[in-house]
Amino acid sequence: MRPVEPSIIEQRSRHPLGDRSASYEPQPFVEVDRLSLYYGEKPAFQDVTLSINKGYITALVGPSGCGKTSFLTCLNRLTDLIAGCRVSGRIMIDTRDVLASDIDVIQLRRRIGMIFQKPNPFPLTIRRNLEFPLREQGLRDREQIAEIIEATLRDVGLWDEVKDRLNSPALALSGGQQQRLCIARALALLPEVLLLDEPCSALDPLSSGVVEDLIVSLRDRYTVLIVTHNLVQARRIADYAALFWIKNGAGRLIEAGPAKQIFEEPRDPLTAAYVSGMRG
């Protein structure tokens, strides 16, 4: 078990959900420099340079297999779990050098929440799903944990739906509820960055809408990076967008910039062709 980090409690009082000011000067928070990733000898993507602004929603779009998921997993070093996976380049998140060999990966992952395409709550009760990572982070105070559970569940709009059955299995929830529970579970750790990998694609249109509204409500408070195949959705929610494409068998970043520019006056012909699919 890890020792209790004294900073956690302080951070909590300093950084309650929801009272950061609403407007930001665009200010890079995640800076990716010439990043490449190989599975064995096969490149997933190469030479990606991208900076992601603090407190905004950035959408990653592109055809299947162009390395969007792989890109996200670099940012929280989930790539460490994949045998034969090699990453080169440089990633700075705030002041942290993510790829440095001496970085505390566990701390890093607590600062960077990730939501997967398929909702993946643990086969535990709803309460235990939220409580488990918190306890692991060093939080022991039952009352405080209960407060955080309520606050995050309210944050994702799930509180009223589950407050009477916190002790029932999380897997009994609907897909949309499970996905919101997963988002709550990530938010409870007070991340700075949220990585969302097609969070709505396994959900029905109604739940998808609910989750989308939730993501929009996270703007300003978190730096959100979302992968989506739904260009209409990307257009609706994103402040910035980046297009990945497969060239010579490896993913490349084709164009990145403000969403308005990417979707309405793209500079690259590939981008133009891709986003025109949105209108057609």
Binding site: I106, F122, P123, T125, C182, R185
Partner: protein
């Protein structure tokens, strides 16, 4: 499924129907006949006295008290040794060794070979290693350790399968939440792997409790009440073997002992599947 099978559409389906149900009926019939035979001949001899008293006149009369004690001790030694080693090795193989690595492949291959080795070979090995080389003599300890060697391959492989059956998304989502590898292992993977472990355990105990060949050379024949783990002790299966092969007029007690053995086996099986479906399921894998 049953709907379509019970109303066969054409000859081929009819044939498949007869084959499938025939095979199932045959297996069930053999089991029932076996069980019926044992109950028929054995039930009238089983009583509390039979379960608690010592055998007399080479087992023709008296009970199986000391034999039950020896059997449980042998099984206890076997489990106490094989469970921790088995789970540990399974974790190592499933979570910390890649499929392709030389170490992983060699270990798996050796285990698969070991699982198929006849028990008499384990008996001779146990006799040479535990009884002679380690100087434990004919003892419950030697017998239990030999059984542990025999049960380990089955236990490890099926526990490993249990770990592999846990979806990779658990590991990824746990890591993404900043859970350490050990926490993930203890709190998420281990509970999820329990069904595999239980299957291995039931198969293993089944093999161990029914074992004669591996025990004849290691824990021995002595049917007295054991005083310590270093005493020789006669296991139930050896008792049955001895009564039916070497003791004229021992059939009645052989049947009664066989009945006890079968009931024990069924009880262990039942307990394990209850544990898998209710006890643990409800608590951890709740759906």
């Amino acid at each position: 499924m049953a709907e379509t099978l019970s109303r066969p559409q054409d000859h081929r389906e009819w044939f498949a129907f007869v084959l499938v149900w025939g095979a199932a009926a045959l297996v069930t019939a053999v089991f029932c006949w076996l069980l019926g035979d044992i109950i028929w001949h054995g039930l009238s001899h089983v009583s509390w006295t039979f379960l608690t008293t010592s055998p007399e006149n080479a087992g023709r009369r008296g009970g199986i008290g000391p034999i039950l004690v020896s059997t449980s001790l042998i099984l206890g030694v076997c489990l106490a040794v094989s469970l921790p080693i088995g789970i540990g090795t399974a974790v190592l193989l499933a979570e910390f060794t890649s499929d392709q690595s030389l170490f992983g492949r060699m270990t798996r291959r050796s285990l698969d070979v070991l699982a198929g080795v006849p028990s008499i070979v384990f008996g001779l090995f146990g006799n040479a290693f535990f009884c002679k080389a380690l100087g434990l003599g004919f003892s419950i300890l030697s017998g239990g350790l030999t059984l542990a060697c025999m049960v380990l391959p089955i236990l490890i492989r099926s526990t490993e399968e249990g770990f592999r059956a846990v979806p990779a998304s658990y590991r990824l989502s746990a890591a993404a939440l900043g859970l350490s590898r050990s926490t993930t292992l203890v709190h998420l993977l281990l509970p999820a792997a329990v069904p595999g472990l239980l299957v291995g355990l039931v198969l293993g105990i089944g093999r161990a409790i029914a074992e004669t060949a591996a025990l004849i050379f290691t824990s021995g024949y002595v049917d007295r009440m054991p005083q310590s783990l270093l005493d020789s002790g006669r296991a139930l299966s050896i008792h049955i073997f001895d009564l039916s092969m070497n003791v004229a007029g021992g059939d009645a007690n052989a049947y009664a002992s066989a009945l006890v053995l079968v009931v024990l086996l069924l009880a262990i099986n039942g307990a394990a599947s209850w544990l898998a479906t209710y006890g643990l399921h409800r608590k951890i894998m709740t759906v």
